[in-house]
């Protein structure tokens, strides 16, 4: 239809007002929201302080890489518990702010919310770890693999203890306890490194490797327990 015809039609013919427009739109099948869209949407609801803290640790590590030269590992591994604090506090956030019941009764329930947020934070921490690892390795005297294990152990210890604590102690006290655990592990790690550097020597590495495996299993188990606790499993006994 040419443009002139359209204008003429508009001029001579007044279109009737739509009837039941709302009902018509409501009758259209809703565009399904997939799990991937939901996962992405949850990234926006992760508190900004968490992203700020990760950025701060990365920037401080970059500065450390330039100025601390051969003494990077103690600093980075002491910062790792602070990174672990993010997923730990996120696991109890819904309960803390009284949103859990609303989230549990929604289509994408609390379990999905938690999985999404813990997954996003875990990936972000993993990315940061892979950025920090070469920096730490290049500014240290340990092999790459050992450096990675020394960095991950304080992270996993905080995750394990923090998730366990947040399951036992709820609310504000739980959040403070998790913060205290992260600080305690970080400070303890830095102090041990300064006081007894031989603790990080190669002959002790098998113990570190064993601790890494145990803590990985422990933290994963705590994650599963948190998910079980936050939402009772699909049920109906009848």
């Amino acid at each position: 239809m040419n443009r002139k015809m359209k204008i003429a039609l508009k001029e001579y013919f007044e279109a009737p007002k739509p009837e039941d427009k709302r009902r018509f739109f409501d009758s259209l099948p809703a565009e399904p929201v997939g799990i991937s869209d939901f996962l992405l949407s949850q990234a926006a609801y992760i508190p900004k302080w968490i992203w700020g803290l990760s950025t701060l640790i990365f920037v401080l590590s970059l500065i450390g890489a330039v100025y601390l030269k051969k003494d990077m590992l103690w600093f980075v591994s002491a910062c790792m518990p602070l990174l672990a604090l993010a997923p730990v506090t996120e696991s109890g956030r819904s309960q803390f702010w009284g949103m859990a019941e609303l989230e549990m009764s929604s289509r994408f329930s609390l379990r999905s919310v938690l999985l999404a947020r813990l997954g996003i934070l875990g990936l972000a921490d993993l990315l940061l770890f892979f950025l920090l690892l070469p920096l730490t390795h290049l500014n240290g005297d340990k092999p790459l693999f050992e450096t990675g294990i020394y960095m991950l152990c304080p992270y996993l210890l905080t995750a394990f203890l923090g998730l366990w604590a947040s399951r036992i102690v709820h609310g504000r006290e739980g959040a403070w306890l998790c913060g205290a655990i992260a600080l305690g592990v970080g400070l303890g790690d830095a102090l041990i490194y300064q006081a007894s550097p031989e603790f990080y020597a190669g002959h002790n590495f098998p113990w570190w490797a064993a601790a890494f495996v145990l803590l990985s299993v422990g933290a994963a188990k705590q994650c599963i327990e948190i998910l079980k606790q936050e939402e009772e499993p699909v049920w109906n006994l009848g």
């Binding site: 956030r93 609303l102 549990m104 699909v234 006994l237």
Partner: protein, 289 residues
Amino acid sequence: MELRIDRVSKQYKNKLAVDRVSLDLREGVYGLLGENGAGKTSLIRMICGVLSPSSGSISFEGLDAGDEEYRAMLGYLPQNFGYYPEFSAQDFMYYMAGLKGLTKAKARTRTGELLELVSLGDVAKKKVKTFSGGMKQRLGIAQTLLNDPKLLILDEPTAGLDPKERIRFRNLISRLGRDRIVLLSTHIVSDVEHIAGTILLMKKGRLIHQGSLEEVTQVIRGKVYELVSCGERAEALARSYSVINYRSEGEKVLLRFVCEGEPPEGATEAPAGLEDLYLYYFSEAEGHE
């Protein structure tokens, strides 16, 4: 459309909170009444899939209460709910819309409409933490309607609302009940009396009555009396009967009470209402089941 609750029980250690409750609910407004600790909230949480029953089953349109599809048809207002501190009213609605599986475009449209409906349109961008109790409650009600639920469960929806707002919401709930199941739990007996087509009365975890206002008040019909008397006699009568209302009117006292047998001299029979029934069952003088 049918919500089927089949012999549902919930036990917390040695306390039986809900005891073999069975119900079939179809379109309409249902009012759930009962004193604190009667098991109302436990039952509601089980219907919403938040709690798992110790035994029995709950299904809606053939879907179990644990299914994602079941929750997609559900709108729930818990008795107490919070919000993330950084949320504005609009953020809260968008967040809930996301959890309910609405697309961004639909979430925007519904949020606008519903915030207007609950008179929060002009404060949509304000932080929820600055809201009064009534405003938070209105926001809670708005989020239940985001997904146009077929099953709407409201736990104390009018708590914290002023009388004008309460009546507005009562009317809204009444309209919503035309084409969906609305289950309303409250202590405000007049709310239930005005809008619920079916009244469910719970006591000690059990469903002791269900039916229309006419049907449930049948139990107490012909047993409610009023008497104007001097203070001393009123005190004596108050010790002998289940008193529903005691009101001083100058020197005299107006006594409204339940009397199972022969009424005292001067007493006149009064029409029984839901409040009378509620107080009859849940007053200090218990044992009426």
